[in-house]
């Protein structure tokens, strides 16, 4: 699918990496700047340099992203060479002019405005270019944006390095068998990223595969990743719901009944010490014997995993009211159900949602594991299995990424429900 590595994309990537390196160097030079400003009798306004550094980092990361997306698009054959060159040149021009203007303005502020107005309590205002490009959108959450983007950029860089390194032996073998010269470095790079069954597929190969199997296939097709995701998701959700209800019921029993506290809790904990991989086939086979196949057995494996965090969290949550709150209800002669609904249940909400986040992710794991031992024909687990049978690493990785994305979305939905419920309960919440 990928004929040659997009040279322009690679160049833009390198440019971005260089810019980030510059920022790192700049951080070191910052203290020198501050000292010299102090020497001149000015309070060096570090906020300006922080802003410039932050925006240089953003620019660098943007460049890397532009580069990768170019490669990706070219790999799919969507971008003509001419178009890619245009993007390349305009990217360079825009970033260079931005870079120049911004540094000129920052220098103007440091050398002219600050000496004129003395050391300002507030920053003098951002250089004009930054006001245009990054007025408030990135500033409001820049505390998270930069670290997250940086981590992603680093991971992708390591990934691509590993792709070349791990897939290289195959290329050398191939050249040897064909009795040709071993590939030179640039050939090696482009070849290792375009293998059909690579040891480690490149990011753009995986995403091209995901794109191909989601957008280009009908949802009903057996080759559609969306179809397989839905099979797994339905088992996940059913298992999650059963697990949550079961977990809550067990927790209520454990909190209200001493005998249950003593007898059930150890079993709940023991249940999780048995590896799910050992239990899953037994559940599938046993239920198959009584005529239950498909969704239910997988959902039950999800349940088996997901009820545990709910029980543990809810037992803690239902016991979280402090003594004076319980005493108060006692002095009002409240009944047990009243104590539960007016005090224990609302108190346990933060615990419940924290548990649910774990439970929903682990439910997905359960559903995938449930698809593995029986050679299921559909579902993300089946895709993983089929991929490993036929050495389709790209297929495995795309199924893995789909599972990760699914888990992320599920956890986020629970997170939103969490903040919504706590907001309705009048609490200040800082979850995301």
């Amino acid at each position: 699918m990928l004929n040659s590595l997009s040279a322009t994309g690679l160049l833009i990537d390198i440019l971005g990496a260089l810019l980030i390196a510059l920022v790192v160097l700049n951080t070191a030079s910052k203290s020198i700047l501050r000292n010299s400003a102090a020497h001149m009798g000015y309070n060096y306004d570090h906020s300006i340099s922080q802003i410039t550094q932050r925006n240089d980092t953003i620019l660098g990361i943007c460049l890397i992203i532009v580069g990768f997306s170019l490669q990706f698009l070219e790999a799919l054959g969507y971008v003509a060479n001419f178009f890619s060159k245009t993007i390349f040149i305009s990217t360079i021009v825009i970033s260079a002019s931005y870079f120049f203007l911004r540094h000129a303005l920052a220098a103007y502020q440091i050398n002219v405005l600050i000496p004129k107005h003395g050391s300002p309590k507030k920053p003098l205002g951002y250089p004009i270019v930054e006001q245009v490009f990054f007025s408030n959108g990135l500033r409001s959450n820049s505390g998270k944006t930069i670290p997250v983007l940086t981590v992603i950029a680093v991971i992708v860089a390591i990934w691509y390095a590993c792709v070349v390194w791990m897939n290289a032996p195959f290329e050398y073998d191939k050249a040897e068998r064909a009795k040709t010269d071993p590939p030179n470095f640039s050939q090696l790079i482009s070849n290792t990223m375009a293998q059909e069954r690579p040891v480690l597929p490149a990011a753009h190969q995986v995403f091209a595969e995901i794109w191909d199997t989601t957008v280009n296939k009908k949802i009903t097709s057996k080759r559609s990743l969306i179809y397989h995701s839905w099979i797994t998701l339905s088992a996940t959700l059913l298992g999650f719901i059963i697990g949550t209800v079961l977990g809550i019921l067990l927790a209520v029993g454990i909190v209200h009944n001493r005998a249950m506290d003593r007898s059930v809790m150890p079993w709940v904990i023991a249940s999780q010490t048995i590896p799910i991989l050992a239990v899953a086939p037994m559940i599938i086979v046993t239920l198959n014997a009584v005529g239950l196949t498909g969704l239910i057995p997988k959902a039950l494996i999800s349940t088996y995993l997901s009820f545990f965090p709910v029980v543990v969290g809810m037992v803690k949550g239902l016991r979280s009211p402090d003594n004076s709150q319980l005493d108060l209800l006692h002095t009002w002669y409240a009944s047990k159900p009243q104590i539960f609904w007016k005090l224990r249940w609302p108190s346990s909400m933060p615990f419940l949602f924290t548990s649910l986040k774990v439970a929903v992710a682990i439910s997905l794991v359960g559903a995938i594991v449930g698809e593995l031992p029986t050679g299921a024909v559909a579902g993300l687990g089946a895709r993983l299995l089929a991929g490993s049978y036929y050495g389709q690493t790209i297929q495995i990785w795309s199924a893995l990424f789909m599972a990760a994305a699914l888990a992320a979305v599920l956890v986020m939905i629970v997170g939103f429900a969490h903040s919504y419920v706590l907001k309705r309960m009048g609490q200040k919440v800082e979850i995301y």
Partner: protein
């Protein structure tokens, strides 16, 4: 274990709380702890009684016995002529803890209507009583706020409103202002006196502070630890009208002195 009330003394309608040789011993790993030992005490309707003494003297335990939060191990006690448990079933008292203990997920209004919900008042009655008690503690504009939006003093006022909402004649307060700073505490003490005079309730008030006890009470019960017992009961001679300045009067200082003497006699200043 709990013997029937009354005992030898006759029940007078004016007596709200009557304790007779009341004892409570906690069994702990380090041996028995005598939290209360043979306490005799009568509290009449409309009195403002302060319990003062060092930690471990049993003043909070006594309050908790009245509230049926602890069971006595000896002697008898009656609340409104009933056992504490019967009194609790009849919702005979409101209890205010040191921590405001407001439910953080309920607005102030909702917090105050919580006991009313539990006791099955109708919605309109709830709203009416919430408004009335909010006015009583001067929090009318804060009904829709959540507890964390209020200062510590306001939270404690809200918790007093909650204890008043169902019109119990007896108010049990366990160091309600202990966690507040002195300025807020002075203000709340003044308000509490006004509230007591307006509502004519019987108030049992546990405190660590001698000035607070003398300023508020018509009767001061001095207690001492190990075993927890009553060492002195002082009937206040202060007038009913009590501006804050009264705390500099000779009368006030005389009573405070007697409280201090009572504490010393109970070896409260040892260690």
């Amino acid at each position: 274990m709990l013997s029937p009330v009354h005992g030898k003394q006759k029940f007078y309608p004016m007596t709200v709380i009557s304790a007779n040789k009341l004892s409570l011993t906690f069994e702990t790993n380090d041996g028995p702890v005598h939290a209360l030992s043979e306490v005799d005490l009568d509290i009449k309707k409309g009195e403002f009684v302060s319990f003062i003494g060092p930690s471990g003297c049993g003043k909070t335990t006594f309050l908790r016995v009245i509230a049926d939060l602890e069971k006595p191990t000896g002697g008898t006690i009656s609340v409104n002529g009933m056992t504490p448990e019967e009194a609790r079933m009849k919702r005979a008292y409101g209890y205010v803890f040191q921590a405001a203990s407001l439910f953080p997920w309920r607005t102030i209004e909702k917090n105050i209507s919580l006991p009313l919900e539990i006791m099955g008042y109708s919605r309109s009655e709830q709203a009416e009583r919430v408004n009335r008690t909010l006015e009583l503690v001067e929090l009318s504009n804060f009904g829709k706020k959540y507890p964390w939006q209020l200062s510590g003093g306001m939270q404690q006022r809200a918790s007093i409103a909650r204890a008043l909402a169902f019109d119990a004649d007896l108010l049990l307060m366990d160091e309600p202002f202990g966690a507040l700073d002195e300025i807020v505490r002075d203000h709340l003490n003044e308000q509490l006196i006004k509230l007591w005079k307006r509502t004519n309730k019987t108030i049992c008030f546990v405190t660590h502070s001698i000035p607070e006890a003398v300023y508020l009470s018509t009767k001061i019960v001095v207690m001492s630890p190990r075993p927890g017992r009553v060492t002195d009961v002082i009937d206040s001679t202060l007038p009913n009208e009590r501006p804050l300045e009264i705390r500099e009067s000779a009368e006030f200082l005389k009573i405070a002195h007697r409280v201090r003497e009572g504490l010393r006699a109970g070896h409260s200043y040892e260690e």
